[in-house]
Symmetry: C2
Subunit: 517 residues, 2 copies
């Protein structure tokens, strides 16, 4: 708690809640113990300990569900006020009472994370929360994209009668202090409830924005230890307290705080939260962090194409290109789909031999990584181009390698491809319309390959270079792995014969390439 | 280069110069090549490639000296304007011409890093630089501590006639955008030369401060890749460009930039620059980063004592304490000085046996780490208290362990020690005046131990637990190691017999503890 100019501003630490995005809401109990002991000695008013959620299909840890015993445990560890948060879009209003029952007498404040388009629905939830005896905060997300109509909407008027706190959430972490001040000034005209601010740190403005929010009237601001939180993370508790100590002389035990910070730095070594260039761009252009990082790390899009995509009003379609739409002149019974794994290098000799002897098999490259093995072969070859693939291709293909080659562009990724476009292969580019697989697995080059196979009336698909991932697997690689597995399953369900010709961790039938020679 | 409102603002990247603080100005030439290629494709106007310096006693790499061949190499790698910096306090005005000779025709701008108290002297240097045909920038450091008298000083008037650029350097990295704006407004009243801003990121305000500087009239701002730079580091080039791209539509190839960022992130893994709680506090309270980190990591001061020290007007002296000044009642011929290494644990039995049999030997603890070995012994024991040592002691000593024990406080560290002060050992505290060793090695507990030994008229000093450091040695540990070695050397020069009784990496005579039993 700080008292700038006689006002009381309270501080909320939401490390367990927001940090859970990295640990899947599991925390070592010794760390939790140290966390609470430290919070108890700091001028923090609220501790937000996690979510209350309905059961999910995938695993999430304790601080995502907060069962009764864990609520009790937290309560016993501190006399500070406790808060939890509920994802509004994941619960129905009639489920709220049941969900909050274990929290009664333990939790002081319930916060609802709400998207602007659900504001009306959320107000009914808020009323129910309030009736259960909790303080209620409505945390309205995506502040950088709020439009003028929000402030004059019917729903907005009702907030005064229901809420204890209305929170401005800079979800993209790209706001500037002036923008924050403007929003608070507008809110103060319309709302009489207390205001809060939750900042993200994509462009390193979480602190200055929170200070601007306090100056503009916020009476509750959020922070997390070491900024631990989704993507680029949050305002750092230690930074906020350092500055509030300087500015308002709020007492802080920096040694106890530093010991906690050191413990969380160990976690940071492992999970590596914090900002980076993709997150900065997601902040600067109000793009969802997951989308940006997914496109860069999973779909291999270029950052330039992502930034350029911001200014275009709608996604490009096949008609936006000067290239013809792909329509095959020939069918193939068998196709070899080549992924980016390393095993094709090991079996290069056998693969070449097999393709030479079976020139009626066509090759579809979902990645360019193994391209060199497939030069100077009699087979038709198709290249799935998305993301940065064209730049890789350019380095590996000579203008002489034109024969029987077609480059297929995904419309969504076309903006990238025109970029490094070379005239070397003029006439060989065609645009691939979305088929069954791409509709389901947008922007996946394996889905592109399967849509191409469908167009070619293929009956048999031989995968090579779909090895799976070993060692330190990134979340994006894990997602790719699961997605490819689903694509294989779908292909089987559609009656295609699918198998792997190189060693693979996927659940897929396999044959040895040597058995075919 | 960006053009906000018709003005031209230029950008300067000083990664090699400021990043050199971490690499000792050695950089892998492939990285340098990638760096230049990337800079060539970005809207960066100046590249500051390092220092020009006179020869130093200790090793510094190429980008600290910039010999002619390296200047040429840089020149051949880019057509951007090149800058170098000179530490004004390290050169005499009459040395400037010689120092800059190799730069003529290669370097566009020479910057002088100047402390406010040397402004007058620096103007003469600036004139000489200018006469050699360079653009001259005067980078005035410690902006957060500038006083009003600076702006009205005689020297200040002369700047207009000499300089091309006057730079505001936020050396402590703790300024806020309002403070930056105020400084620029004051400068604009007094100066007609172009203004620049160099921000540090201790409290994560390097970006917002640089934007505030631009708004307030700066026409040249600095940044480094990944913020690589001394201590908490600088404004990140990738962050600045992301925001300038959004704000002013300056064209940026984010993919090429990101590849460079990834290369520097590898370096960051190794050198771990960036802000942390000690750096935040050094920013918030305008304390030199090295002092704060040195006191925390080398002298084991508490952060609280450092922050508290900010408000006290002068360093405490012996007279500031309620304890008597140390004056020994008894002399000792031999003393055992116990450091914090782990070997005493291995030889605990032998050490105890030796001390029991030789109760006329006194023990001086320069660290409390091995204290438990020395309980219940007949020997006189002295404890050197500095930094957080008192807290460690409290956990290890019972009130029963009073006998023949004296706690010696270093006046400089007294502020810390009063903190966790316990009445358990009332009457046993004395203040140690600075002697020969402490005058040379301020705040070192080994120096304290040697000053105590001098007071006791000791002839022979046996060190135990001075093992040296192995494994991943931090810079602070390396400094401690060198400092202890110097203390041993000094002791020998003063005619003391000094040796180690436990295995040690120091250059010091040794005896086996077992040979003495």
């Amino acid at each position: 708690m700080v008292n700038p100019g006689g006002r009381t501003v309270q501080l909320l630490d939401c490390t367990l809640r927001d940090g859970g995005y990295y640990t899947n809401w599991d925390f070592d109990e010794r760390l939790v113990e140290q966390y609470f002991q430290t919070m108890n000695s700091l001028p923090i008013d609220y501790i937000e300990i996690g979510y209350r959620s309905k059961p999910k299909q995938s695993y999430k840890g304790g601080y995502y569900y907060l069962p009764k015993y864990l609520l009790d445990k937290c309560r016993n560890r501190t006399s500070k006020k406790l808060a939890i948060i509920i994802n509004e879009k994941e619960v129905l209003v009639e489920e709220i009472v049941e969900l909050l029952k274990p929290c009664i007498g333990i939790i002081e404040m319930v916060r609802l994370a709400v998207a602007p388009e659900n504001l009306e629905r959320a107000i009914r939830c808020a009323e129910v929360v309030k009736e259960q005896g909790f303080l209620i905060s409505l945390n309205l997300m995506y502040a950088s994209k709020w439009e003028e109509k929000l402030y004059v909407s019917e729903s907005f008027k009702y907030l005064n009668g229901v809420l204890d706190y209305f929170y401005v959430v800079d979800s993209y972490g790209g706001m500037t202090p002036n923008e924050v001040t403007n929003i608070f000034n507008k809110l103060k005209e319309k709302l009489s409830v207390d205001l809060g601010f939750h900042g993200h740190n994509n462009i390193e403005m979480a602190l200055i924005n929170s200070l601007a929010a306090i100056d503009a009237g916020a009476v509750l601001v959020d922070a997390t230890v070491c900024g631990m939180g989704r993507g680029a993370g949050n305002l750092k508790t230690e930074l906020l307290l350092s500055i509030l100590h300087r500015k308002y002389e709020v007492p802080v035990d920096f040694d106890i705080l530093n010991e906690l910070v050191e413990s969380f730095l160990d976690l940071k070594e492992r999970y590596k939260w914090g900002t980076n260039l993709p997150y900065m761009l997601s902040g600067a252009f109000s793009l969802p962090q997951n989308t940006v990082l997914g496109r860069v790390k999973k779909r291999f899009f270029s950052l330039n194409s992502i930034v350029r995509g911001v200014s275009s009003t709608s996604s490009p379609t096949v008609g936006d290109f000067d290239f013809p739409v792909f329509s095959p002149v020939k069918n193939f019974a068998k196709v070899m789909v080549v992924g980016g794994g390393s095993t094709p290098q090991e079996f290069a000799g056998a693969i070449k031999e097999y393709l030479k002897e079976n020139s009626e098999i066509c090759v579809i490259h979902s990645s360019s990584r193994n391209l060199k093995i497939f030069l100077n072969l009699p087979n038709h070859q198709f290249h799935c181009l998305s993301g940065k693939e064209i730049h890789r291709l350019e380095k590996k293909l000579h203008s002489g390698d034109r024969s029987k080659r077609i480059f297929l562009i995904s419309p969504q990724a076309g903006e990238t491809i025109q970029d490094g476009f070379s005239s070397k292969f003029e006439g060989l580019f065609e645009v691939l319309e979305k088929g069954f697989f791409q509709e389901k697995y947008d922007l996946s080059t394996t889905a592109m390959a399967m849509d191409i196979a469908s167009c070619l009336n293929v009956q048999e698909v031989m995968f090579i270079g779909y090895d799976g991932y070993t060692g330190r697997v990134s979340p994006e690689q894990m997602e790719l792995f699961e997605e490819n597995q689903e694509i294989f399953n779908e292909a089987k369900r559609k009656g295609l014969m699918v198998f792997s010709l190189t060693p693979s961790m996927y659940k897929i039938s396999s044959k040895s390439i040597f058995s075919l020679l």
